[in-house]
Structure formats: C-alpha cells, structure tokens
Amino acid sequence: MSSSLFQLFRTGKLIQNGYSVSCKALHSSQQFVKATTAARSQNIASFSTAVSIADGKTPDDQSQKMSKAMKAYMNRAEAHDALMAEETAEYEIGRRHLANIMGEDPETFTDEDRDKAIEYLFPSGLFEPRARPYLKHPSEVFSKRKEAEFDHSGRPFHTLFYTGLPNYFQILHDITERVRELDHFASRMSHYNVALDKDKSLNLSSSEWLTKEEFEIKIIEAMKDYHYEFFIKSMNRLAAHPLSYRAKDFIMDFRKNKPIVKLLQEIPKVMYTAEGVPYMTETGRRKTATATVTVYGRGSGKVTINDKDILYFSNLQDREQILFPLQFCGVLGTVDVVAEVEGGGTTGQSGAIRYAIAMALRSFVDLEMVEKMRLAGLLTRDPRSRERKKPGQKGARAKFTWKKR
C-alpha cells in the first residue's frame, strides 16, 4: 500500500500546494495567444514543413528569416503544449493509481470519488479549502491560455487579430449576425402570416449574465469595463428580440443560473426512522449560535430544546420565532421538533432554530409552500452579525468625543 502511495507521489504528481505550480505556469506562458481550431495547432508543430511546401524554399532559409521573437514565441508555444501533455499523462496515471488504492474500477472512478478519496487519504486540518491537497486535471489547475494566433510567416489566423481582442469582437459580430437573421426570419414569418408563438419566448429570469471576470476567463481575453458593458448591452438587444429563442444556445452560453435556483431545486428527501416516522435534520446558524434541528412528522406539536421544553426560552418573542415557520406552514400540531443549540444569546439561538426548522420543513410541504416560505423570509440565512470595533473609534460606529482643541 505504501509503495503504491509512493508511486502516486512520484508519477501521479499529487499537488500538495497548487499555488506555486500554477503561479509558475502562469508566469512562463504569459505571452501565449489562442488558436481557434485544431488545424492551427498542428501548424505550429509542422511550420517548417508547411513553409517548404508553400513557398518552395528550404526550411533552413525560412527559419533563418524568422525573427528571434518569433522563434521564442514558437518555442514557448511548443513548450506549453508539451507541458500540458506531460501533466495530463501524469494526472491520468495518478488517477488510475488512486482508483486502485481505493479498490475502485478506474473506468468508473468519477471526479467526486476522486475528491473524496483524496480527502480520506490526506485529511487536512487547514482552514482554507484551496490550501488542502487535491488531485485535479491540468486543465483545471493551469489557467487557460492561448496557443498560436499566427503562423510561421506572422500572418494571423483570425481576421480580427489586429483588434487586440479578436474573440471579443468576433462575439460582437456574431450578435449582429444573429439579430439580422432573426429580423429576416421575422419578416418571412410576417410574409407568410405566421403568428408569433408567445410560449416559445425565452425566459431569462432564472439566469444572469456572466460577470466581467467570468467573461474574461471564458474568452481568454482581458478587456476594459466599457468593453464588457457594451457586450452586455448588445446581448440584451439580442435577448429582447421576440424571436430570441432561436438563438437560445448562443445566449445561454453567456449566462449562469442564479443562486436561488439551487435553493429550490435541491430540496432533500424526507428520511424515515426504524418505526417509519418521517424526519428531516437541518443545521441553522444566526449570529454565532448554531442549532441542529430534527423535525419529525406524525407528531403532536411537541418542541424540545436542549432536552427542555419550549420554556427553555423565557422570552415570548423567542418562542414566537420558533413557532413561526410551523404556524406559517400550518403544521403546528402535526410535527415534533427536537433541537440542540449552542452559542450566541437568546435571539441568536431562536433565530438559528427558526431557520433550521424552516429548512427542514421544505421536505414536508409542497413546492408552492416552499416558495411562500422563501418570500416570507424564512429560508434566508440572516447575514447580520456584530460589527467589529475599529481602532481610533469607541465602537463600531461611535467615535470618541470630538474636541475642537
């Protein structure tokens, strides 16, 4: 077992601290530019042979005429490709070793299995998740960089290369093309008296545009704020077209789901005890208080907090808060609640329990009620916490007495 682990270290290139490796990679490949087709990448490798065929000159003549900068550029491109190939091969070997160690079939070893295996084999006490050991595909570790944007003679592949942002301006051109296509289609529809189908129209309410940072990563080009703003405006023009559903794939390529979608879609299913009683456990936090709450179905409205009755809270307001989600969903007398809470004060603890109860109740009630709970503010983790005191001030906001002299 230990020898195979050692093998893993040697050949699998398990990265203990990804930062230094990726930083090195970033620094060395800063000048790379992107090739947009596979054919172009082939061109890099075979530039000398291509030249001899195209110009009828000998490879030696051409390579002498190439400037030093071009040569260096080509070398760097090749080096990067070689690095990626090597890293990918080593990663694959490491992944297979890991699967064997865990006793799994390498073919069916998913990324989640891989991450769990690393967490199991190398338990880390580090707080920052990014500092913990991981095994990732090189494409996720090394940031994407462009390969070759021009051939041996210095002629760029992309027509918009000299704009400095070829991919960005290509996208803008694509947008205009799409709008013209949609206009043309609309005119044809009206010519043949075909009515517009309202049901088909694009619904963009559940998604939002990529942020500038995400957009830059996607097209591998750094741009100014006004470039991004103009892109968003143009995309909004396209999305606002009545026939925009015809360009759905193109539009959704630059959109991401809103975080709310996750809250509503990932509702865990109710679990059952040995006696067949449905239950759900959730953790809630509010203001340094943490509560672990189990809501049991088929109950009688009993509330237990830290092995005490609801009178654990002497304050009426806190008791009201705990009963709020139960009363809202109309399950006051039909569920039992068992809560363990620690940390914080009375309001923090009751707020944590309220949040946990509401999250647990999602599994018991229908989707419409879940949406109502969300609009009532029961499913939002209250982010308000105590503001720190600042130096030179009496408190968080209060200043020391101002003396004129």
Partner: protein, 240 residues
C-alpha cells in the same frame, strides 16, 4: 485600437456608445441599481412578506412570477405570521424601546394593555345599562388603534426660508409620518409623569384619553392644526 474598434462597429451598424467614455463602474451601469453602503444585503434583495393574507393577495395579483428569482431578506425577529401579531403594536414597541432592550419595551406594552383592560373591565362592571356595557371597548389593541387614529395630525409646519425670513409653512403629511408622530407624542406623554407613577400606568391613561378624543396628545394635535390654519397664508411658499 480605438480606430479599429470604430471601423468594426460602423460596419456592423452599431453606434459608439457615449457612455463608454464615462467613468462608471460596469456593475452599477449594467445592473442599474444603487449601492447601499450600510446594508448587509446586496441591493437585489427585496423585503419579506410574512403575513399569510398578504401572500395570498400577492398570489392572486400574479406577482409571484416577478419575485420568482429575486432573493428575499430574512424576516426580522419581531415579525411572525401569528394571529396575535399586530404591525402597529410592533412599531409602537420599537418606539418605546431604548438601547435595544426589546424585552423591556415589550413588557411595558403588555403592562400598558393590561392596565387598559383592567380599567375598561371595571367600567363595564360598574355600568348599569346593557347599552353602556356594550359601548365600552375592552380590547386594548382596538383602544390603541383608535387612540393613535385620533392623535394623527394631517398637516405639520416646516420652516421655509424666503427673503431672509423663516416662515412656518403648513405642509401635508404622509401616512407613515403621521403615524410616527402620533405614536411618538403618545410615548412622550407617557414619559411626562410624576416620579411615583409607572410609565405603563401613565401610557394606559393617555391611550384611554386619546381613545375618547380627550387628553394631552389630542390637544397637541389640535393645537398644531390651529397653528397650521393660522399660517394658511404662507401655504403657497411650498411651491413658489
């Protein structure tokens, strides 16, 4: 690079946006929202609707769809969907509260309402005819609502400077503001008492008097209205 950009944009029939030269953050321009520096929530968050009847109204009006993907703030600790919840009483409790001592404020309100109940019940027992008995309202929340209603001013005086002189100009009040002023006056009247009298006793007395359209607070409102009437001549200073 700008030249190339303009060439390309001209060929694709786009106009160069003037705003591109302005120094505006992309987030603010694109998302078109104002940033609130003091809130822990991002500006997209909307207020929660925690009353079941209000949610039913929203459902009927079809606003569900609008709010479908908008994030919602968490409900506050004094907000519930309970039948015993009254928004006006909650607001009043907050006006009584000092330095965040909500428990104490709530105790005071409860004692005040208890006092009102005691007084009214006593009156009811002492009343002779059935008619009189029916006329006496024992529900303290109802008494409180009526009292606040009776104390609400319609106009207030605001100083307006014209030609070097500050005139007190009568100006109409919004609903929210008039509620706030009425409740503030009631709390102030409750605090304005002899040393041996409890705040809850005093406040109960004030509320009962205001309920009958008598007492200090109603007098204050009427005085304000008289002053507004007196300063009617300056009303046009609001606009000129």
């Amino acid at each position: 690079m700008n030249h190339f950009r303009s060439v390309l944009l001209r060929s694709s029939n786009f106009r160069l946006p003037r705003e591109s030269h302005a120094r505006v953050s992309s987030v603010a321009l694109v998302q078109n929202v104002l940033q609130r520096s003091y809130s822990r929530y991002s500006p997209q968050y909307i207020e929660p609707v925690y009353r079941i009847e209000d949610l039913e109204k929203i459902k009927e009006s079809g606003e569900f769809k609008e709010r479908q993907f908008t994030p919602v703030k968490a409900a506050l600790t004094n907000q519930t969907s309970s039948v015993f919840y009254d928004p006006l009483v909650t607001k009043f409790t907050n006006y009584i509260m000092k330095t965040g001592q909500r428990t104490l404020a709530r105790d005071l309100i409860n004692k005040t309402f208890e006092n009102i109940k005691h007084t009214q019940l006593k009156k009811k027992q002492e009343a002779e005819t059935q008619e009189e008995k029916d006329a006496i309202e024992t529900n303290p929340v109802v008494v409180f609502h009526k009292a606040v209603q009776n104390c609400k001013p319609i106009l207030q005086l605001t100083p307006v400077k014209r030609g070097g002189i500050r005139y007190q100009v009568p100006v109409p009040l919004t609903e929210k503001r008039s509620f706030f002023i009425a409740m503030r006056w009631l709390v102030e009247a409750g605090k304005d008492k002899y040393r041996d009298v409890r705040f809850s006793e005093q406040l109960a007395r004030e509320l009962l008097e205001a309920y009958k359209n008598e007492g200090r607070v109603v007098k204050k409102k009427q005085d304000l209205h008289k002053q507004c009437e007196a300063n009617r001549a300056y009303a046009h200073y609001r606009w000129s």
